[in-house]
Amino acid sequence: MIQINITKPLHTADGTIDLIVNKEIQNGDFLTLFGKSGSGKTTLLRIIAGLETPQSGKIIVDDEVWFDSEKKVNLPPQKRGVGFVFQDYALFPNMSVRQNLEYALKDKKDTKKVDEILEIMEIENLSKMKPEHLSGGQKQRVAVARSLMSSPKMLLLDEPLSALDSAMRLKLQDELHSIHQRFNITSILVSHDISEVFRLSNRVFKIALGQITDDGSPSEVFSNQNISGKFKVVGEVLSIQKSDILYIVEILAHNEIIKVTAVKSDIEALNIGDKILLSSKAFNPILTKI
């Protein structure tokens, strides 16, 4: 379990705000930090990794103190044993894919581990290539592979998919999901993409101006925002859930979630991630003053 109770002043474009976090994260969770840029989500991730130091507070992971401002404890990133995937991947340009992975080994002789991870990530064929010759999706895979080399207890992902096109994103989202399942590794993802949140995480912190404003499952955090309704919208299928004899399809349209009931024949051709047109012929507009 990760207990975080920290504060840190952030200097943003809107002036100085305080990042205040007091939460617990369960082992095995896939947590997404969701918010606009400048809200403090990346800073929180970097604080957990030890790349930034909070002004005050505590971070305790499985009874091990990583940070305690009162007792002057601040474990350096080298000793925290986390995996971190950077937004720009941070692959070492002077090393081949294989050397990048080997660099991360604790025991230099453990080359089996390298082969194993190369195989799991399906990048054996890239092992001799230098990062400069890789595509964005390949770089991302190598970065994830490298972060898994030390068998970390926690995987921290800083918008790792933001530079990829949507087809590649979907594929890599699936891979991140299966890695999370396979290694049962506590994962924390920074994202501002609602569909990504739904596909990957079981818990979301919605962060605005340094404060966690919402905390819950993706459906809890996003679905109660508005009442659906209105003629024609293009959206993306986020999830399909069976509910008695009906199905509930969650659709992302214009960054808002709409829940729609559907029957079996409606959903047969639908897959998560599909683009759909949602339309309504007759409806009761509901007016709500805001």
Binding site: Q78, G81, D88, A90, N94, Y103, A104, E132, S150
Partner: protein, 226 residues
């Protein structure tokens, strides 16, 4: 080619070579420090490093001459403790050249460090590696063009240095008489043929060195970003 010409040229290259090696050892830690530090003294440190760019060489030479003189405190201390006389000696020339060429080594290395993405060193730290290993395995190998530029420019600049050498080294054949001094000397003696020999050699070497830097950097930059 007469013997004194060869002796002078060899001395010139020896001075440049020794200076470059010493500056490389100073330049890497200093450039790393300047690129990383957020200290409020950074502007002062940068100013000191850059001073030789704008100071007339004679100013620096004059003060070094005073400092190294065995009649003054520091020079006397050197003389007594290490029996080292830096005035009008090869060692003195090396010290003066190191100070005078400092920015030519530190600037390219500092900007090389600054140009590297911060996430490279952070990734290395997270993978459990310390600062020193990160420096040698990750940072330095990815800034070879900057290091090479620093080495070559420092070497070339030391070969071409005149004012400081004249002030502090004088003109002792085989000890402190380098090519740039020799040109001045030969012209004074109206020995234009020999002066031309020195001058043309320096011209050709400088041209070749700079051409080499630009060609190497072009191909390195290409291979890294293609």
């Amino acid at each position: 080619m007469d013997e004194s010409f060869i002796q002078t040229m060899l001395l010139t290259f020896k001075l440049a070579g020794v200076t470059t090696v010493i500056l490389l050892c100073i330049g890497i830690p200093l450039g790393y420090f300047l690129s990383q530090t957020k200290s409020k003294f950074k502007p002062i440190a940068e100013t000191i490093v850059s001073m030789p760019l704008v100071l007339p060489p004679s100013v620096l030479g004059f003060y070094l001459l005073l400092a190294f003189s065995p009649k003054n405190g520091f020079g006397a201390w050197l003389d007594e403790t290490f029996s080292l006389r830096l005035v009008f000696s090869f060692e003195g020339l090396v010290v003066a050249s190191v100070i005078f060429s400092l920015p030519f080594m530190v600037h390219p290395i500092q900007s090389g460090f600054s140009a590297l993405s911060k996430s490279l060193s952070e990734a290395s730290y997270i993978l459990g590696k310390g600062k020193l290993q990160t420096l040698y395995s990750v940072l330095l190998p990815n800034m070879k063009p900057s290091i090479l530029t620093g080495i070559v420019i420092t070497f070339a600049h030391t070969v071409g240095e005149f004012g400081v050498v004249l002030m502090i080294g004088g003109n002792k054949a085989g000890e402190t008489k380098v090519a740039s001094i020799a040109i001045y000397d030969e012209v004074e003696a109206l020995n234009y043929g020999l002066a031309n020999q020195y001058a043309f050699t320096l011209f050709a070497i400088s041209f070749a060195i700079l051409l080499f830097v630009y060609m190497i950097n072009k191909s390195m930059v290409k291979s890294e970003f293609r």
